[in-house]
Amino acid sequence: MNQPSRFQVWSRLFWIFLKVNLLTTAGPTSTGLLYKECVGKIMNESQFVEAVGFSNLIPGSEALKLAMFIGYSSGGMSGVLAALLGAIIPPTVIMLTVASILVRFQGQDWMKHFIKGMTPAIAVLMTLVAWQLFRVANPKSIKWRPVLLAVLSFAALYFGIPPQYVLIGAGVLGVILYSPRRY
Protein backbone atom coordinates (compact mmCIF):
# COMPACT_ATOMS: atom_id res chain seq x y z
CA MET A 1 0.00 0.00 0.00
CA ASN A 2 1.58 3.30 -1.00
CA GLN A 3 1.40 6.12 1.51
CA PRO A 4 -1.54 8.46 0.70
CA SER A 5 -0.76 12.18 0.78
CA ARG A 6 -1.91 14.24 3.76
CA PHE A 7 -4.51 15.99 1.68
CA GLN A 8 -5.98 12.65 0.65
CA VAL A 9 -6.22 11.60 4.29
CA TRP A 10 -7.92 14.87 5.25
CA SER A 11 -10.47 14.81 2.48
CA ARG A 12 -11.21 11.14 3.12
CA LEU A 13 -11.73 11.72 6.85
CA PHE A 14 -13.93 14.74 6.15
CA TRP A 15 -16.01 12.80 3.65
CA ILE A 16 -16.39 9.73 5.90
CA PHE A 17 -17.65 11.74 8.85
CA LEU A 18 -19.89 13.91 6.72
CA LYS A 19 -21.49 10.75 5.35
CA VAL A 20 -21.75 8.92 8.68
CA ASN A 21 -23.31 11.93 10.40
CA LEU A 22 -25.79 12.38 7.58
CA LEU A 23 -26.89 8.76 7.64
CA THR A 24 -27.11 7.96 11.35
CA THR A 25 -29.06 9.71 14.09
CA ALA A 26 -26.75 9.38 17.10
CA GLY A 27 -23.20 8.55 18.16
CA PRO A 28 -23.66 4.93 19.32
CA THR A 29 -25.59 3.87 16.21
CA SER A 30 -22.91 5.28 13.93
CA THR A 31 -20.15 2.87 15.01
CA GLY A 32 -21.40 0.13 12.67
CA LEU A 33 -21.24 2.33 9.60
CA LEU A 34 -17.93 3.83 10.75
CA TYR A 35 -16.44 0.38 11.01
CA LYS A 36 -17.31 -0.37 7.40
CA GLU A 37 -15.96 2.98 6.22
CA CYS A 38 -12.72 2.99 8.19
CA VAL A 39 -11.37 -0.46 8.90
CA GLY A 40 -9.09 -1.71 6.14
CA LYS A 41 -9.15 1.69 4.46
CA ILE A 42 -7.61 4.25 6.75
CA MET A 43 -6.93 2.20 9.88
CA ASN A 44 -6.75 -1.39 11.07
CA GLU A 45 -9.19 -3.21 13.33
CA SER A 46 -7.29 -2.76 16.59
CA GLN A 47 -6.89 1.00 15.97
CA PHE A 48 -10.65 1.20 15.49
CA VAL A 49 -11.41 -0.72 18.67
CA GLU A 50 -9.01 1.56 20.54
CA ALA A 51 -10.68 4.69 19.16
CA VAL A 52 -14.15 3.49 20.18
CA GLY A 53 -12.83 2.59 23.63
CA PHE A 54 -11.30 6.03 24.13
CA SER A 55 -14.49 7.74 23.16
CA ASN A 56 -16.12 6.35 26.32
CA LEU A 57 -13.41 7.82 28.51
CA ILE A 58 -13.94 11.53 28.25
CA PRO A 59 -17.16 13.52 28.66
CA GLY A 60 -18.95 15.16 25.74
CA SER A 61 -20.75 14.31 22.51
CA GLU A 62 -20.19 10.71 21.44
CA ALA A 63 -20.14 11.48 17.71
CA LEU A 64 -17.50 14.17 18.21
CA LYS A 65 -15.30 11.92 20.31
CA LEU A 66 -15.43 9.14 17.71
CA ALA A 67 -14.53 11.64 15.01
CA MET A 68 -11.63 13.01 17.05
CA PHE A 69 -10.07 9.70 18.00
CA ILE A 70 -10.45 8.15 14.57
CA GLY A 71 -9.17 11.37 12.99
CA TYR A 72 -6.22 11.40 15.37
CA SER A 73 -5.09 7.84 14.88
CA SER A 74 -5.27 8.05 11.08
CA GLY A 75 -4.26 11.66 10.40
CA GLY A 76 -2.77 13.20 13.55
CA MET A 77 -3.89 16.61 14.77
CA SER A 78 -4.91 17.81 11.32
CA GLY A 79 -6.95 14.62 10.92
CA VAL A 80 -8.84 15.57 14.08
CA LEU A 81 -9.86 18.90 12.54
CA ALA A 82 -10.97 17.37 9.24
CA ALA A 83 -13.04 14.68 10.98
CA LEU A 84 -14.56 17.17 13.45
CA LEU A 85 -15.61 19.48 10.65
CA GLY A 86 -17.28 16.59 8.85
CA ALA A 87 -19.10 15.53 12.01
CA ILE A 88 -20.28 19.02 12.96
CA ILE A 89 -21.65 20.29 9.64
CA PRO A 90 -24.59 17.87 9.03
CA PRO A 91 -26.36 18.06 12.43
CA THR A 92 -25.98 21.81 12.77
CA VAL A 93 -27.04 22.77 9.25
CA ILE A 94 -30.03 20.41 9.32
CA MET A 95 -31.06 21.42 12.84
CA LEU A 96 -30.81 25.14 12.05
CA THR A 97 -32.98 24.68 8.96
CA VAL A 98 -35.61 22.62 10.78
CA ALA A 99 -35.63 24.92 13.81
CA SER A 100 -36.10 28.03 11.67
CA ILE A 101 -39.04 26.39 9.89
CA LEU A 102 -40.56 25.05 13.10
CA VAL A 103 -40.59 28.45 14.79
CA ARG A 104 -43.44 29.43 12.43
CA PHE A 105 -45.60 26.54 13.61
CA GLN A 106 -44.88 27.12 17.28
CA GLY A 107 -48.07 27.48 19.30
CA GLN A 108 -50.36 26.03 16.65
CA ASP A 109 -52.75 23.37 17.82
CA TRP A 110 -51.45 20.47 15.75
CA MET A 111 -47.91 21.20 16.97
CA LYS A 112 -49.07 21.11 20.59
CA HIS A 113 -50.76 17.76 19.97
CA PHE A 114 -47.71 16.44 18.15
CA ILE A 115 -45.55 17.33 21.16
CA LYS A 116 -48.07 15.82 23.57
CA GLY A 117 -47.99 12.61 21.52
CA MET A 118 -44.19 12.55 21.55
CA THR A 119 -44.06 13.08 25.32
CA PRO A 120 -44.78 9.49 26.47
CA ALA A 121 -42.55 8.06 23.72
CA ILE A 122 -39.67 10.31 24.80
CA ALA A 123 -40.21 9.60 28.50
CA VAL A 124 -40.03 5.85 27.78
CA LEU A 125 -36.96 6.36 25.57
CA MET A 126 -35.21 8.28 28.36
CA THR A 127 -36.03 5.55 30.86
CA LEU A 128 -34.47 2.98 28.53
CA VAL A 129 -31.40 5.19 28.04
CA ALA A 130 -31.09 5.35 31.82
CA TRP A 131 -31.24 1.56 32.01
CA GLN A 132 -28.66 1.14 29.24
CA LEU A 133 -26.28 3.58 30.93
CA PHE A 134 -26.66 1.66 34.17
CA ARG A 135 -25.98 -1.59 32.33
CA VAL A 136 -22.75 -0.12 30.94
CA ALA A 137 -21.54 0.09 34.51
CA ASN A 138 -22.71 -3.51 35.18
CA PRO A 139 -21.95 -5.43 32.00
CA LYS A 140 -22.52 -8.95 33.33
CA SER A 141 -23.80 -8.89 36.87
CA ILE A 142 -24.96 -6.09 39.15
CA LYS A 143 -22.00 -4.81 41.16
CA TRP A 144 -22.14 -2.93 44.44
CA ARG A 145 -20.27 0.22 43.40
CA PRO A 146 -22.65 1.38 40.65
CA VAL A 147 -25.63 0.46 42.84
CA LEU A 148 -24.21 2.45 45.74
CA LEU A 149 -23.56 5.43 43.45
CA ALA A 150 -27.07 5.18 42.01
CA VAL A 151 -28.72 5.02 45.45
CA LEU A 152 -26.64 7.93 46.75
CA SER A 153 -27.43 10.06 43.69
CA PHE A 154 -31.11 9.28 43.97
CA ALA A 155 -31.11 10.32 47.62
CA ALA A 156 -29.19 13.50 46.82
CA LEU A 157 -31.57 14.44 43.98
CA TYR A 158 -34.55 13.63 46.20
CA PHE A 159 -33.29 16.05 48.85
CA GLY A 160 -33.02 18.76 46.22
CA ILE A 161 -29.26 18.94 45.74
CA PRO A 162 -28.64 20.52 42.29
CA PRO A 163 -27.91 17.83 39.67
CA GLN A 164 -24.58 19.33 38.62
CA TYR A 165 -23.21 18.86 42.15
CA VAL A 166 -24.65 15.35 42.32
CA LEU A 167 -22.87 14.47 39.07
CA ILE A 168 -19.55 16.02 40.13
CA GLY A 169 -19.86 14.25 43.48
CA ALA A 170 -20.55 10.91 41.79
CA GLY A 171 -17.53 11.40 39.52
CA VAL A 172 -15.25 12.20 42.45
CA LEU A 173 -16.63 9.24 44.40
CA GLY A 174 -15.96 7.12 41.30
CA VAL A 175 -12.29 8.20 41.30
CA ILE A 176 -12.05 7.04 44.92
CA LEU A 177 -14.24 3.91 44.74
CA TYR A 178 -12.72 2.55 41.54
CA SER A 179 -9.11 3.15 42.54
CA PRO A 180 -7.04 0.00 41.91
CA ARG A 181 -6.09 -0.48 45.57
CA ARG A 182 -9.55 -1.80 46.25
CA TYR A 183 -9.46 -4.60 43.76
Binding site: A26, M68, L84, K112, T119, A121, M126, I168
Partner: protein, 173 residues
Amino acid sequence: MHQLLTLFWVFLKINLLSTSGAASTGLLYNEAVGHFLTEDQFVQAVGLATLLPGSDALQLAMFVGYTVAGVAGGLVSLFAAILPPTILMFVLVSLLHRVQREAWLSRFVEGLTPAVAVLILTVSWKVLKSGTGGNFDWIIIAVGGASLLAYLFEIPAPFVILIAGVVGTFAFR
Protein backbone atom coordinates in the same frame (compact mmCIF):
# COMPACT_ATOMS: atom_id res chain seq x y z
CA MET B 1 -25.62 39.26 25.84
CA HIS B 2 -26.57 37.91 29.21
CA GLN B 3 -28.66 35.23 27.51
CA LEU B 4 -25.75 34.16 25.31
CA LEU B 5 -23.47 33.83 28.33
CA THR B 6 -26.09 31.71 30.10
CA LEU B 7 -26.43 29.45 27.07
CA PHE B 8 -22.66 29.11 26.78
CA TRP B 9 -22.23 28.22 30.44
CA VAL B 10 -25.14 25.75 30.47
CA PHE B 11 -23.93 23.80 27.45
CA LEU B 12 -20.34 23.85 28.60
CA LYS B 13 -21.47 22.33 31.90
CA ILE B 14 -23.77 19.78 30.26
CA ASN B 15 -21.07 18.52 27.92
CA LEU B 16 -18.52 18.29 30.70
CA LEU B 17 -20.81 16.18 32.87
CA SER B 18 -22.30 13.69 30.42
CA THR B 19 -20.90 11.21 27.94
CA SER B 20 -23.40 11.43 25.06
CA GLY B 21 -26.35 13.37 23.74
CA ALA B 22 -28.96 11.03 25.20
CA ALA B 23 -27.18 11.05 28.55
CA SER B 24 -27.20 14.85 28.66
CA THR B 25 -30.99 15.25 28.53
CA GLY B 26 -31.34 14.90 32.30
CA LEU B 27 -29.01 17.76 33.10
CA LEU B 28 -30.38 19.85 30.22
CA TYR B 29 -33.88 19.58 31.68
CA ASN B 30 -32.76 20.73 35.09
CA GLU B 31 -30.63 23.58 33.77
CA ALA B 32 -32.99 24.88 31.11
CA VAL B 33 -36.66 24.06 31.71
CA GLY B 34 -38.29 26.75 33.81
CA HIS B 35 -35.36 29.10 33.30
CA PHE B 36 -35.33 29.87 29.60
CA LEU B 37 -37.02 26.87 28.01
CA THR B 38 -40.58 25.59 28.28
CA GLU B 39 -41.57 21.97 28.85
CA ASP B 40 -42.91 21.76 25.29
CA GLN B 41 -39.71 23.14 23.82
CA PHE B 42 -37.69 20.56 25.76
CA VAL B 43 -39.76 17.66 24.41
CA GLN B 44 -39.46 19.16 20.93
CA ALA B 45 -35.67 19.48 21.28
CA VAL B 46 -35.21 15.87 22.41
CA GLY B 47 -37.63 14.61 19.77
CA LEU B 48 -35.90 16.44 16.94
CA ALA B 49 -32.41 15.51 18.12
CA THR B 50 -33.46 11.86 18.05
CA LEU B 51 -35.14 12.20 14.66
CA LEU B 52 -32.55 14.13 12.69
CA PRO B 53 -29.24 12.65 11.56
CA GLY B 54 -26.04 13.50 13.42
CA SER B 55 -24.84 14.05 16.97
CA ASP B 56 -27.70 14.49 19.47
CA ALA B 57 -25.61 16.64 21.79
CA LEU B 58 -24.89 19.16 19.05
CA GLN B 59 -28.50 19.19 17.90
CA LEU B 60 -29.82 19.77 21.41
CA ALA B 61 -27.42 22.71 21.76
CA MET B 62 -28.32 24.08 18.34
CA PHE B 63 -32.08 23.82 18.81
CA VAL B 64 -32.20 25.18 22.36
CA GLY B 65 -29.78 27.99 21.50
CA TYR B 66 -31.76 28.93 18.41
CA THR B 67 -35.14 28.93 20.17
CA VAL B 68 -33.82 31.07 23.01
CA ALA B 69 -31.64 33.58 21.16
CA GLY B 70 -31.78 33.03 17.40
CA VAL B 71 -28.84 32.11 15.20
CA ALA B 72 -26.33 33.72 17.57
CA GLY B 73 -27.72 31.60 20.42
CA GLY B 74 -27.46 28.47 18.30
CA LEU B 75 -23.83 29.11 17.42
CA VAL B 76 -22.81 30.01 20.98
CA SER B 77 -24.42 26.83 22.35
CA LEU B 78 -22.85 24.73 19.61
CA PHE B 79 -19.42 26.16 20.41
CA ALA B 80 -19.92 25.45 24.12
CA ALA B 81 -20.95 21.85 23.35
CA ILE B 82 -17.89 21.26 21.19
CA LEU B 83 -15.32 22.73 23.58
CA PRO B 84 -15.18 20.17 26.45
CA PRO B 85 -14.38 16.99 24.45
CA THR B 86 -12.01 18.77 22.03
CA ILE B 87 -10.05 20.59 24.72
CA LEU B 88 -9.81 17.47 26.87
CA MET B 89 -8.61 15.51 23.86
CA PHE B 90 -5.97 18.11 22.96
CA VAL B 91 -4.80 18.37 26.56
CA LEU B 92 -4.57 14.59 26.89
CA VAL B 93 -2.70 14.24 23.63
CA SER B 94 -0.24 17.07 24.24
CA LEU B 95 0.45 16.03 27.82
CA LEU B 96 0.95 12.38 27.01
CA HIS B 97 2.25 12.75 23.46
CA ARG B 98 -0.12 9.99 22.51
CA VAL B 99 -3.63 8.97 23.46
CA GLN B 100 -3.72 6.61 26.35
CA ARG B 101 -6.13 5.70 29.07
CA GLU B 102 -5.92 8.22 31.87
CA ALA B 103 -6.95 6.15 34.88
CA TRP B 104 -8.48 8.85 37.05
CA LEU B 105 -10.46 10.35 34.18
CA SER B 106 -11.97 7.01 33.23
CA ARG B 107 -12.85 6.38 36.89
CA PHE B 108 -14.53 9.79 37.05
CA VAL B 109 -16.64 8.89 34.02
CA GLU B 110 -17.33 5.45 35.51
CA GLY B 111 -18.61 7.05 38.72
CA LEU B 112 -20.60 9.59 36.72
CA THR B 113 -22.52 6.99 34.72
CA PRO B 114 -24.86 5.60 37.43
CA ALA B 115 -25.63 9.13 38.62
CA VAL B 116 -26.47 10.21 35.07
CA ALA B 117 -28.74 7.17 34.75
CA VAL B 118 -30.63 8.07 37.94
CA LEU B 119 -30.91 11.72 36.87
CA ILE B 120 -32.39 10.76 33.50
CA LEU B 121 -34.83 8.43 35.21
CA THR B 122 -36.15 11.20 37.47
CA VAL B 123 -36.34 13.64 34.56
CA SER B 124 -38.24 11.20 32.33
CA TRP B 125 -40.84 10.98 35.08
CA LYS B 126 -41.04 14.79 35.33
CA VAL B 127 -41.39 15.07 31.55
CA LEU B 128 -44.22 12.57 31.52
CA LYS B 129 -45.98 14.21 34.47
CA SER B 130 -45.85 17.83 33.37
CA GLY B 131 -46.03 17.17 29.63
CA THR B 132 -49.39 15.50 30.13
CA GLY B 133 -50.69 17.85 32.79
CA GLY B 134 -50.61 15.06 35.37
CA ASN B 135 -53.68 13.23 34.09
CA PHE B 136 -52.77 10.02 32.34
CA ASP B 137 -55.66 9.42 29.98
CA TRP B 138 -55.82 6.25 27.96
CA ILE B 139 -54.13 7.83 24.93
CA ILE B 140 -51.01 8.70 26.93
CA ILE B 141 -50.86 5.21 28.46
CA ALA B 142 -51.46 3.56 25.08
CA VAL B 143 -48.76 5.62 23.34
CA GLY B 144 -46.32 5.02 26.21
CA GLY B 145 -47.00 1.27 26.25
CA ALA B 146 -46.84 0.96 22.48
CA SER B 147 -43.53 2.83 22.32
CA LEU B 148 -42.06 0.65 25.06
CA LEU B 149 -43.00 -2.44 23.04
CA ALA B 150 -41.60 -0.88 19.88
CA TYR B 151 -38.26 -0.11 21.55
CA LEU B 152 -38.07 -3.62 22.98
CA PHE B 153 -38.59 -5.01 19.48
CA GLU B 154 -35.71 -2.75 18.42
CA ILE B 155 -37.68 -0.53 16.11
CA PRO B 156 -35.41 2.52 15.62
CA ALA B 157 -36.19 5.35 18.07
CA PRO B 158 -36.65 8.03 15.36
CA PHE B 159 -39.58 6.09 13.85
CA VAL B 160 -41.19 5.47 17.23
CA ILE B 161 -41.06 9.14 18.19
CA LEU B 162 -42.30 10.32 14.81
CA ILE B 163 -45.25 7.93 14.89
CA ALA B 164 -46.07 8.86 18.49
CA GLY B 165 -46.19 12.52 17.42
CA VAL B 166 -48.42 11.78 14.45
CA VAL B 167 -50.73 9.72 16.65
CA GLY B 168 -50.83 12.68 19.03
CA THR B 169 -51.89 15.16 16.34
CA PHE B 170 -54.89 13.02 15.52
CA ALA B 171 -55.79 11.59 18.91
CA PHE B 172 -55.75 14.79 20.96
CA ARG B 173 -58.06 16.80 18.69
